[in-house]
Amino acid sequence: MTPEKTKEVELQATVLRLLGDIAPEADLTSLNPVLSIRDQLDIDSMDFLNFVIALDKELHIAVPETDYTKIATLDGCVAYCLQRLEHV
């Protein structure tokens, strides 16, 4: 695996773990990475805010509200985080 790929896999694991904290009963293995996280996990705006807060705490990425659409799917969220971490 290339270092980029390793980083991506790690990030995906982190994002899934944070989602697991918010929706503990959800089966994350069946999460479709290109569909809306909110719809699939039945999480509301309070849960989503808690997820954004967790991203900030864990990865030090403060996602502005205007970027919420970019982190709406698992793939989108991982790509967004990768990009934000590269441009620190």
Partner: protein, 382 residues
């Protein structure tokens, strides 16, 4: 001396099972501090003391289930001495019914358990109901291991009886509401552009953890509109209306395992948006973790349900007795909207009011919804 009784935490609660005491005998307790944790069919609830003093005596032990109104603890109020012969005053966290002592005896009898003190203590710590645990020790005695195993299964999946219990409670409350309350329903659409623009600007300035949700604006606006139409902030009990001095807004929160619970934001009209947001977040997290507080569950004076998250455009809710009104919000949708003779696209929300016709009329209900609209046009004043 004051008697602390098992509080009634909701219209249809009849029994409560003590999970644990939070203080030791002889400890000081302040009004509002958690005195005990109680298991009901609907949730595990932290009970707050409604008096300051010293814990004199506990009358029931963890694991015991008693009817509401049963004296469960005695608290020595400030300034009293231990040896007083004064007749105890009844205090409670909520309206109560007289304890049925004959029933209490039977109840405590059935829950006398064959359990080691260590296991019993552990059960209380882990929130395990020892009466639901099968003992594997000598003579069926419940051991420490039994409790630990029960705790493991408990965290793996929620107990099905909680689900059934919650369904029954919702069924009873809603059937009673539909049977007894002559509902009337009103609906209006509200332009949220100003509120959402203001919120976006505000959140841009804030750190992630301090961001506000639009739901908090709705809660505050409802609370402030109730000041203008106070008859909607009341309960109907014993064939008469009881106006409520505080505005405690219950928020219907759906639970992940199914069912819902509606804890209240106390004095919502007097709190700033920041305070409300903080309490709201904390309350949702605790409600979903099954850790609501007694005052939140017994003191709501009106309820808000927001089904917008689920994508529906409007909801006409059923009033939660003994309350007399319920406010519903749907999803925010973009719609063509005429302003000053010009057509534009605006974010619109549908607000509904379900109200008890014994207490208010459509005219007053209409005034409430217009006040709500007006308040949401001035978000900076919320």
């Amino acid at each position: 001396m004051a008697n602390f009784v098992m509080p009634k935490l909701g219209a249809d609660m009849n029994m409560g099972r003590l999970l644990s005491w939070s203080k030791n005998i002889g400890d000081r307790i302040e009004r509002g501090e958690i005195i005990a944790e109680v298991h009901t069919d609907k949730a595990d609830i932290e009970i707050e003391s409604f008096i300051s003093g010293v814990i004199e005596k506990y009358l029931i032990e963890p694991g015991e289930e008693v009817p509401i109104g049963t004296v469960i603890a005695i608290i020595r109020k400030d300034g009293e001495v231990t040896t007083t012969n004064e007749t105890p005053v009844e205090i409670a966290a909520a309206p109560t019914v007289a304890p049925d002592l004959s029933k209490r005896e039977t109840m405590t009898e059935t829950v006398r358990l064959h359990i080691s003190p260590v296991a019993k203590k552990l059960a209380a710590e882990l929130g395990i109901d020892p009466t639901q645990v099968k003992g594997t020790g000598p003579g069926g005695r419940i051991t420490r291991e039994d409790i630990e195993n029960a705790a493991k299964t408990k965290t793996e999946k929620p107990a099905p009886d909680r689900q059934t219990g919650m369904r029954q409670i919702i069924a009873a409350a809603m059937a009673r509401a539909k049977r007894e309350i002559p509902h009337y329903y009103l609906r209006t659409t509200i332009d949220l552009k100003r509120a959402l623009d203001w919120l976006a600007q505000e959140n841009e300035k804030r750190s992630v953890a301090d961001r506000l949700l639009y739901g908090v604006l709705l809660i505050k606006a409802v609370a402030m509109a109730l000041r203008e139409v106070p008859e909607l902030n009341a309960t109907w009990e014993n064939e008469q209306v009881n106006p409520k001095p505080s505005i405690n807004v219950g928020i219907a929160i759906s639970l992940r395992q199914g069912g819902l619970i509606a804890p209240a934001l106390l004095d919502a009209d007097k709190k700033s948006l920041d305070e409300l947001m903080q309490k709201f977040r904390d309350m949702v997290q605790r409600a979903r973790a099954g850790r609501s507080r007694s005052s939140e569950l017994s003191d709501a004076t009106i309820t808000i349900t927001n089904l917008g998250e689920q994508g529906v455009e409007e909801v006409f809710g059923i009033i939660y007795p003994p309350q007399v009104a319920l406010v519903g919000f749907g999803k925010i949708v973009e719609r063509p909207w005429a302003v000053n003779g010009m057509l534009g696209v605006r974010p619109i929300i549908t607000a509904t009011l379900s109200a008890d016709h014994r207490v208010s009329d459509g005219h007053r209900g209409g005034l409430f919804l217009s006040a709500l609209d007006r308040l949401l046009q001035e978000p900076e004043n919320l």
